[in-house]
Symmetry: C2
């Protein structure tokens, strides 16, 4: 019997990867006179991965990685105005409005009466808190957990801290790697709602026979929950 | 009767402001050919304050503010190598070892048997978690709270979440603004252990008759606690 329903935030409740993709396109256009797009993308991704252990996830680290990549790809020739443009790209991402994905607000509203709703997101604390406030969805969640990594240990610590049994917990999110597999490993349930873009770092080789439910939209979640209840 | 003893981290358990001061000196030396030190400091502080609502606290935001200030102060003339140097200054801060201040390890060891020890720190989630691991002090704390701002509301939420009565709680820290005043406002106790440097943003006009205890070193904390116990 599911009592606590937890949601991922970025690309589950609101757009996120789209903003990265748009910013990356602006970054390419800044460097297109020096290199082709594929090489720019490859070097940026390599810098991000190299810096993950310094910066963690989030827009500030991404901005610093863009600056470093721009210097590398231009052999330090990118001028001050170019660097300033990259800093502004990062700030523009932070300033974006946060619009809930279609169906999110009404589904959360509907489920909040029947379930204890939790938000579990990884990334930059300040940035994630700001987005939750901007989204207007904060009131639906009785618990908010912002963690630096969403792995099995992190989920185990959250369940333990709140005294939640895995059998009473389900996670909903767009990332198989961060929202689904570690939750299933704990014996809890997880529902995958794919987003149309997935960051390369989050891509996993999916098992052939998908052992978890995949929904097309959050609008299908109440029916899935009703079916679980009927079975349980 | 104090049962939960909470500690601030930066400049209470380990050096922090010193690293900022060292980095700021390196930043000045990069720009000294353009401006005098006081003006560089003033512009950097102004940029940080302007960016606080975008970036929050922490080294990544500080690095981005240094880059922005360097461009402003050189009218975009700082070259790629100079920008690269600023990025590296930020990374060097993140890579610094975390050494507990004198007395910290033995005092925490001693108090962990008698009190429930909590860490309450503000700033970048990833960075603060990394520092706690590097410090080797993590094992002493039963609870770790990393928040984006340490104001009265944040402390109230922490006490509520853990079911702690203000009368059973004391906070220990170096910042009057973040560690002392908001805690006293909740009716809990707070102990000030000053650090020899205070970030301008954390400076408050202190009340003339100091209504909170000020200790010279964390080594004096066990005696202060024993005195409280004797009184209570």
């Amino acid at each position: 019997m599911i009592r606590t329903l937890a949601f991922d935030a970025d690309d589950t409740l609101w757009h996120n990867e789209t903003h990265y993709a748009e910013t990356q396109e602006a970054f390419r256009s800044l460097l297109r006179q020096y290199h082709d797009d594929a090489w720019i993308d490859e070097r940026l991704h390599a810098t991000e991965m190299r810096n993950l252990s310094h910066y963690g996830y989030g827009i500030k680290g991404f901005t610093l990685s863009m600056i470093e990549t721009a210097l590398e790809l231009t052999e330090d020739r990118l001028d001050g105005a170019g660097i300033r443009r990259v800093v502004e790209l990062g700030k523009a991402m932070l300033a974006k409005p946060v619009e809930p994905l279609p169906g999110v607000a009404e589904v959360l509203q509907k489920l909040a009466g029947a379930y204890d709703l939790m938000l579990i997101t990884k990334g930059d604390l300040f940035d994630q808190e700001t987005k939750l406030v901007k989204s207007g969805l904060g009131g639906h969640f009785s618990k908010v957990e912002i963690v630096s990594e969403k792995d099995e240990a992190a989920y185990a610590a959250i369940l333990e801290r709140h005294g939640i049994a895995p059998s009473a917990f389900a996670m909903v999110g767009n990332s198989v790697k961060s929202d689904i597999l570690p939750v299933l490993a704990l014996g809890a349930r997880a529902v995958h709602i794919p987003y149309h873009l997935t960051w390369a770092h989050e891509v996993v080789a999916a098992p052939v026979d998908s052992p978890f439910p995949v929904l097309e939209s959050i609008r299908d979640l109440p029916d899935w929950l009703a079916a679980q209840s009927a079975q349980g």
